[in-house]
Amino acid sequence: MNLNPQDPPQEEKSVTTPKISLRDVTKTYSGVDTPAVKDLNLDIASGEILVLVGPSGCGKSTTLRLINRMIEPSAGEIIFDGEDVTNSDPNELRRRMGYVIQQVGLFPHRTIAENIAIVPKSLKWPKDKIRARVDELLELTGMDPNVYRDRYPKELSGGQAQRVGVARALGAEPDVLLMDEPFGAIDPITRFNLQNEFLRLQSELKKTIVFVTHDIDEAVKMGDRIAILRDQSEIAQLDTPEAILTNPADIFVEDFLGAGAVLKTLTLRRLNDIQLVHAPTITERTNRSEAAAQLRQSDFPFAVLLDDSRRPIAWVNQADLDSSDPLASNSRRIPVKLEPEDTLQEALSVMLQTSAGMSAVVDSTGQYLGTCTIQSLAELLTEPPVDGDSL
């Protein structure tokens, strides 16, 4: 593939041409003097999740609805896949963009399968292709097709309904998903799960997603880039979550991020990103006085007790080594093991739960890799973000 001399320019093009562009888009409602959206310019790259976030009334939902022309712009252009769609058939445009709203809006008189089939059906897909697609989408969104295919929306919980809402939006394989506070009406635990599942789904599907929320935590979690909007959909800052959190553009952004901005960066970094430290490791069979000497020489208050398969069991200190009790019986057991993919926020919460102030990191087979300490977190937070992350 790479031998073909025509490839590189094409690749370059796909990187630089935005999937969706808003050019000087303005929306003024009749009878209102100030526009709801004013001269907005926004490029959405292919395959990214762009989060629009801002206080209520800033025009973020209006902006989203301008993209699929649920609201017609008063001025400006909407470019989709390099094509000016400002005056094309809006229904045809909408069938090419999945649309997910907070209240889901499933058709109550249609079964789950029929709901998901709505767009494929209006595109006149053959019946067996639709049926296969419905089952595929239900499985993709974590719903057993055999259980849910023929049920009606009223039989679903809020979380399940939104899963179907996402499945329905993906129905005819659109490249673009527009999501207006999709998880806003869902209880926190279910929302957390849906967010994670959605991110996992997105890592496979690589759709271009515009995601509206008023919740900065959700924006930081979901967004590849975040646009923080103020009145009339003016972009206060448009950047990666890391760059916005560590380097807010102005006081408005700072206020909007709130006091916990530094802590929020913990949800973005993973244990992969930090240098693990290596506390002394011992097993039940290690000679205790040798281990005690080793521990004394190190800077660590605790050593890690490993079992025969090198899985961490407990934190052991000098006093434990001096006594003759079995080491595994002390109270500083390691109940939660972290993996490199876990976020630093999870690492911090584990540290705070155990009296050792450290957390053990293991690989996928449970073997001990190293230790994360409060100090290593603190060092990371005071460092500026790695350049090149911010585009």
């Binding site: 229904n91 069938r95 889901v104 058709f107 209006s122 009606y152």
Partner: protein, 219 residues
């Protein structure tokens, strides 16, 4: 017991007349209900995006219902003469409001998020109406049709006063001859057959509802 026996005697000696008037009333009920349904549902659908036109049509239909029935039946005689036509027009005007009001209420009752998502998926306004809004409004519209049908059974008795026939013929003739023999039997005939017809019409419309209301909407 004597009363009932004499009523049965009365009925069995006049089966032809009973069947004829019953069919006349049934004709009124069916034609009026169908015509009023077509007109009211169309008006409700056409005015759904226009609050002014919607209110105006509801007001006009309400005015019809406030006109005393006796007056409404006779008002058209100078124009269309006696018989079926003035009766049909009067009952048609009465039957409009329940169906129109329920059509408007039914269309409005469709959840705005359902409408929003329908539009957002690229359904045309026509598809939104026929695939989403009307099916979801149908149970409410049908309830209005039932009210109108029963209303028509009731007031069709007045058609007899403008020579429109129907079960009212028995009531009118019975009232006119009141102390004389068979007068009470005639009144009973009119009343009881009207009642039976109303129950039958209601049963038919309920059955239609059971099979035509979208599943998944009402438990």
């Amino acid at each position: 017991m004597d009363g009932i026996r004499s009523w049965f005697d009365y009925l069995s000696s006049r089966t032809d007349l009973v069947v004829e008037t019953l069919l006349q009333t049934l004709t009124y009920v069916v034609s009026v209900t169908v015509a009023a349904s077509i007109v009211s549902i169309s008006v409700g659908v056409l005015t759904r995006h226009n609050p002014f036109a919607k209110e105006l049509s509801l007001s006009i239909a309400s005015v019809f219902l406030t006109i005393p029935s006796l007056a409404l039946f006779t008002i058209f005689i100078p124009i269309v003469g006696l018989g079926f036509t003035p009766s049909f027009i009067a009952m048609f005007l009465y039957a409009l409001l329940p169906i129109l009001r329920n059509t408007v209420a039914g269309l409005d009752s469709v959840d705005s998020s359902v409408m929003e998502s329908a539009k957002g998926m690229g359904l045309t306004p026509r598809q939104v109406l026929f695939r989403v809004q009307l099916p979801l409004a149908w149970p409410i519209i049908l309830a209005g049709i039932r009210v109108s049908a029963l209303l028509t059974v009731g007031i069709s008795a007045i058609a007899t006063l403008v020579a429109g026939g129907g079960l009212g013929d028995f009531i009118k003739s019975g009232l006119a001859r009141l102390p004389l023999p068979n007068s009470l039997e005639a009144i009973w005939t009119g009343v009881i057959l009207s009642l039976a017809l109303a129950l039958a019409v209601d049963l038919v419309l309920r059955t239609i509802g059971r099979f035509s209301n979208p599943s998944g909407v009402r438990s």
